[in-house]
Chain length 192, copies 2
Amino acid sequence: MMHEFEIYLRAYINLNGGDLDRIWALAVPKAVRRNEFLLREGDICRHKTFVMNGLLRTFGKTADGNEHILQFSPEHSWTLDAESYDHQQPSSYNIAAIENSEVLLWSKADFDGLLADIPELKSLAEQLISRNIYSGRRRLLTALSATPEEKYHEFVQSFPGLLARLPLHMIASYLGISIKTLTRIRQAQLRR
Amino acid sequence: MMHEFEIYLRAYINLNGGDLDRIWALAVPKAVRRNEFLLREGDICRHKTFVMNGLLRTFGKTADGNEHILQFSPEHSWTLDAESYDHQQPSSYNIAAIENSEVLLWSKADFDGLLADIPELKSLAEQLISRNIYSGRRRLLTALSATPEEKYHEFVQSFPGLLARLPLHMIASYLGISIKTLTRIRQAQLRR
DNA sequence: CGGAAAAAAGGTCATTTGACCATATTTTCG
DNA sequence: CGAAAATATGGTCAAATGACCTTTTTTCCG
């Protein structure tokens, strides 16, 4: 089980064995079943989460009860609500498993310690944050400017591997379009 | 001119005089005239930018030539294209002045040096990045889920001071709706 | 395996939205 | 100041979209 995570880490940073062991020693493995929540809005996000395998989603709810997916987190990605985690305050978002998944959890206290002591890890964290900002910008521009069809194509291009693992209504939710519109787009594709 | 910037900095972090002087000494003041570009897509974003006064906008262009505003940067805020700046690679975005503005510029080399030497500044930078992520999430959720009317109200609530300084078509561009729709919303308000 | 639940697709219709155009008003700047 | 540009508003219309509902298909899980 270490194996997976070790491969991931080593792909990004050079760590000596001791640091790796320490990071690993503080990680709490957890199995999350399909549809189980890792975080519910109103709760405080207490952990950094690394997805070893499976697939999670982060979503917000609107007043009328609709769900809108902000992010998919497949294997070898991280997830949390940063605002809730950083300030240990109630979250506005939900994180739930789409597939049965295995994750690693670190408490904020533990992870802060690791970040302080292991510069390579700190640098990885900063890289992840940066990429988060870059992709967030692109996503926003798409949300503002693209037609539903363009959004769908961009999604397929960007996450070819996720397409087959997601129910369509979640893709629609992620794109901010109705499932009806998504179905129409896909039908139009077929007829070509 | 230092004054403005000093007030800003001191509001967020405690700096000894020497550090403040050093930050200031490396800053290049620049006046940007209305409609002038600070960054054009395709160019490399070479500076961190602090807006002393005035108002800038960051926007992307779609294939059909439409502009979509990602961010307004009024006085006492920072702006750049992080992706272009971090990797010194061509940008996909544009930054231009809406009002005549005065900004401070730091080259990446200089600012990296400051960040490395002044932990307080580093901590401020991290705070800014975090807030960027938080607000980006909220903005995305709004873009995905809100009606044009809700988007407009949220904008007015969030940036009451900007409303009077912006042409409506820029607000529409920021919200991802047509100016026609925005006009309709505002007319409906009046009639109540 | 089989029944129940979830997901996808299809039909219909009202509404919203944007495109296009013209016009009035304001602002800019030489 | 005054011409030109920018901005805001208004009208009209077609198209896209979502809401609601039903039917079919697939998936899940005991």
